[in-house]
Symmetry: C2
Subunit: 339 residues, 2 copies
DNA sequence: GGGATCGCCTTGATCGTTCCAAGGTCAGCA
DNA sequence: TGCTGACCTTGGAACGATCAAGGCGATCCC
């Protein structure tokens, strides 16, 4: 292996070595079809010998593209089972790589969700954004759309049905329907719901899957639902009340965090999860995977989400831009001990 | 707010508007001290009016620096409680931001841990790397050192005590010592250890904290330790054997994953964690936080680690480079129900 | 046989910034 | 008045790549 030079080789170095012009080397890298086979081989050989790799800054400057995708990471919420970020980020990095992009992370000032976007955009540091937390009714999507900033959202434009930007989302209702139907198939009749407060669009979406599955079999939902904060203790308290007042034989929850609360209540009362009462969570977090006896949970196809997002980004950044409609994916059920 | 132009404003645009030359605008941004106060104000006003932000590609090209820090993210291991990545990545992004850097993620081909590094380096896409998984005895650190690539490791150079590169690590032995001493203070005499296989340097380090705490009080460790794979079922099995053969009143584990196995065994036997038998895990994962009744766990100061890493990077990228010694940080104990 | 066409490669200009060295302005001083 | 020096400002060049246009044989076709 050649020694590390003080300064990396440039296009001109390769050109000289291969006895061709700069442009020909550039073409060898970007448009190999334009070269005669023997010339191409000679250039590639020189590239290999010198260990040449195109200078990104120079390329970015000339092409006005960075091949970088920006993603804002919000604060890490402790005390919840929310573990989808790890998996999603990893999937996104992987999918981006295959499309020739890298992922640039930036921190969000919790006070100002727009901070950071503007600078990265104007300084042409990134080509586009992936926006993940559209559910808070936060202004990012609208703001970016106004700026004509290229971005793809992970999450439907709940509050703006006429939004023009591409998005990818997972059908939460389909997930809870799947979970509820699974329990119904196993003979459960009284299946309770513990979800989020009514102003959460995602929460209401997931809730609708539960209720539609029950209604589809002619079963009532009255008195079987509770809407609380997304904390373990809320899940614990809500399930205690529901057990006393409605005597459900199973719980479907809007999150693994809430489901962990249910498991706590069951343990308090000497009930065995999966035998006496079934429990199904949402997100298939690491918590669900390691808790005893294993928490059955709705699993989002984050790998597929990432692939679809990158596809949408490629369309967006193509010439001319192709803005497709939204993409909706369906979750699956990770079966474990609690059901 | 001004309309979004088709092409962002450049230094020349600002210069024209402020009635000065390009260089003066550049100085206003990079060396404000060189300008007279009124000129500076005029230029800054023009910058603000036009919404100017320096083109990163052009700046990177000229200065031969990208202000990007590369970090390889490995595969996501399912079925373990390993949740430190989220927290660490977030902390690193935050600390980098304050130092004027962004974090670029790249995927690792599991087959070839070196893939990706080389390209990013030669193409001057990143200025430096943060290497996180030094524990596998993997060749990254050595390889990067040979290439004279600037990088900081999260983790001691276990296998290469004479390594020249800067590193930051958390004193695992201090953490398990802390946990064990806490239990000793509460009256426990027979405290078992469940850790990783002997070829894990980190595992042996953490184990040494447990044994030294016991030895410091003149207590034996014989028969109280088990070394297994880092899975829930291994922890479950190991704790069952230990309970039968050594009758410990408490467990200290090398990971939350193993601790969750212990909790499973306790539940099987009708024992209450925290009352009948105490359990302390390692990493303060989300699992520890949401499981009932809360898993006491050793918590790594990842925020501090990130800050130290960025400090080391700044030294490394300064002119002239300042390579300091390693930095060792001490973990704390997150107290919860199981102890 | 001559002009148009095609395939393949070369040349000059350019992206937006910072570095460099020289130029301008003005007060202070003899 | 003319010189000096401090201080700010200026134009030109360079970073390393791609774009746009042009050169130059060989081939094709009438």
């Amino acid at each position: 292996m050649a020694r590390v030079p003080t300064t990396p080789p440039t296009l001109a170095d390769v050109a000289e070595r291969a006895g061709v012009s700069r442009q020909t080397v550039s073409n060898a890298v970007n448009n190999p079809d334009l070269l005669r086979a023997d010339t191409l081989a000679r250039v590639l050989h020189a590239i290999d010998e010198l260990g040449y790799s195109p200078n990104r800054a120079a390329r970015n400057l000339r092409t006005r593209a960075s091949h970088l995708i920006g993603m804002r990471i919000g604060p890490v919420y402790e005390g919840t089972a929310n573990a989808t970020m790890d998996r999603f980020v990893h999937s996104l990095v992987e999918a981006s790589r295959e499309a020739g992009y890298h992922v640039l992370l930036f921190a969000g000032d919790p006070e100002d969700p727009l901070a950071g976007y503007d600078d990265l955009l104007r300084s042409t540091t990134v080509d586009a954004f992936v926006v993940t937390d559209t559910y808070l009714g936060n202004p990012q999507a609208t703001w970016l759309e106004e700026r004509r900033a290229p971005f793809v959202a992970f999450g439907r434009p709940w509050d703006h049905p006429g939004a023009e930007h591409p998005w990818v989302d997972v059908d939460g209702a389909a997930g809870t329907d799947l979970a509820t139907s699974y329990l119904l198939d196993r003979g459960h009749q009284r299946i309770a719901w513990i979800g989020w407060r009514k102003d959460s669009r995602i929460g209401e979406d997931r809730r609708s899957g539960w209720s539609r599955a029950l209604h589809a079999r002619g079963l009532p939902t009255t008195g079987l639902a509770s809407r609380v904060e997304d904390t373990v203790s809320s899940g614990r308290e809500a399930s205690a009340v529901l057990l006393d007042e409605a005597r459900p034989t199973a719980f479907v929850c809007a999150s693994d965090t809430l489901a962990m609360g249910v498991l706590g209540t069951l343990a308090d009362r000497g009930l065995t999860a999966g035998r006496d009462v079934s429990v199904i969570g949402f997100d298939d977090s690491q918590v669900a995977q390691v808790v005893s006896p294993g928490l059955t949970s709705v699993r989002q196809p984050l790998e597929d989400v990432a692939v679809e997002i990158v596809k949408a980004l490629e369309g967006l950044l193509a010439h001319p831009p192709a803005i497709g409609p939204g993409v909706m994916l369906v979750p699956s059920l990770a079966l474990r001990g609690t059901s």
